[in-house]
């Protein structure tokens, strides 16, 4: 199956999380992704875009979030870039540690890693954060049922 590409640039407003998720959902549904895959990819996309808006761009309306999507018959790859000052994911607390269980934040990246097959962090040319997500369609997971 030929590759399908999608590129979105949105402003740093939370309502755009909805827009990006809907666009990617439509694209992966058209490529045959099942309902479960659509749900978990959708949630991971939400977390990535919300982080870009909230922590990367700090809701600055003049800053943009770029989303690049590549879909083929095997997988979807999503790259989300912000215009912030970068981020070190190793500084994020373990949300499963007993002392963090009652924290009201800090679970987004953990969820992304659970919902997707691959999640990696890097930097954009201008120093912003670039997060890459990959999910194989109908992937055989080794740790039991999804997510």
């Amino acid at each position: 199956m030929p590759e399908h590409e999608l590129h979105l640039t949105v402003g740093s407003r939370f309502e755009n999380v909805e827009l990006v998720q809907a666009a990617i959902d439509e694209a992966i549904a058209a490529r045959g992704a099942d309902e479960d895959a659509r749900h978990w990819v959708g949630l991971a996309v939400r977390e990535a875009v919300a982080n870009a808006i909230k922590h990367g761009n700090r809701q600055d309306p003049d800053k943009r979030v770029d989303v690049a999507v590549l879909i083929d018959s095997e997988a979807v790859e999503i790259a989300v870039a912000d215009e912030g000052s970068g981020f070190d994911p190793s500084t994020v607390r373990d949300p499963l540690a007993p002392e963090n269980l009652f924290r009201t934040n800090g679970r987004g990246i953990f969820y992304m890693r659970r919902f997707m097959d691959e999640v990696s962090y890097g930097s954009t040319a201008s120093g912003g954060t670039l997060v890459r997500l990959r999910k194989r369609f109908a992937a055989e997971r080794t740790n039991g049922q999804e997510p």
């Binding site: 939400r46 949300p95 934040n105 953990f110 997510p147």
Partner: protein, 111 residues
């Protein structure tokens, strides 16, 4: 997200419908719980059957509601978790934090 409120046998029931997600649903949940607390409610049951999506912000709001109500000596419990909401709470081990019931009758009887 839509929220319906009712009181059954002294328990304030919040029925949530739609998405508990960043920007809208999470804020709506926070405001609804704060309003109940301002009205003096101390037994709160959150009905989740018609929740289609919950993200980390929504989960954070549930945790915040739970700790706020508990710290004031009240109780906050959950009922009718859809499978995907259950999964979300399960993988962050929050299912062990909340009291979760399968039916409203069981939940109401537990207060």
């Amino acid at each position: 997200m839509k929220i319906d409120k009712r009181v059954v046998g002294g328990v304030s029931v919040l029925e949530l419908e739609g998405k508990i997600t960043i920007g809208k649903g999470d804020v709506a949940l926070r405001e609804a719980v704060q309003q109940l607390l301002a009205e003096g409610a101390d037994k709160i049951l959150i009905h989740l059957e018609r929740v289609t999506t919950i993200d980390s912000s929504g989960v954070g709001e549930l945790v915040s509601a739970f700790t706020t109500v508990t710290n004031r000596g009240g109780k906050l419990k959950l009922v009718n978790l859809p499978p995907k909401v259950n999964d979300i709470l399960q993988i962050t081990q929050l299912i062990t934090v909340f009291e979760v019931y399968d039916t409203e009758a069981e939940a109401l009887a537990s207060f």
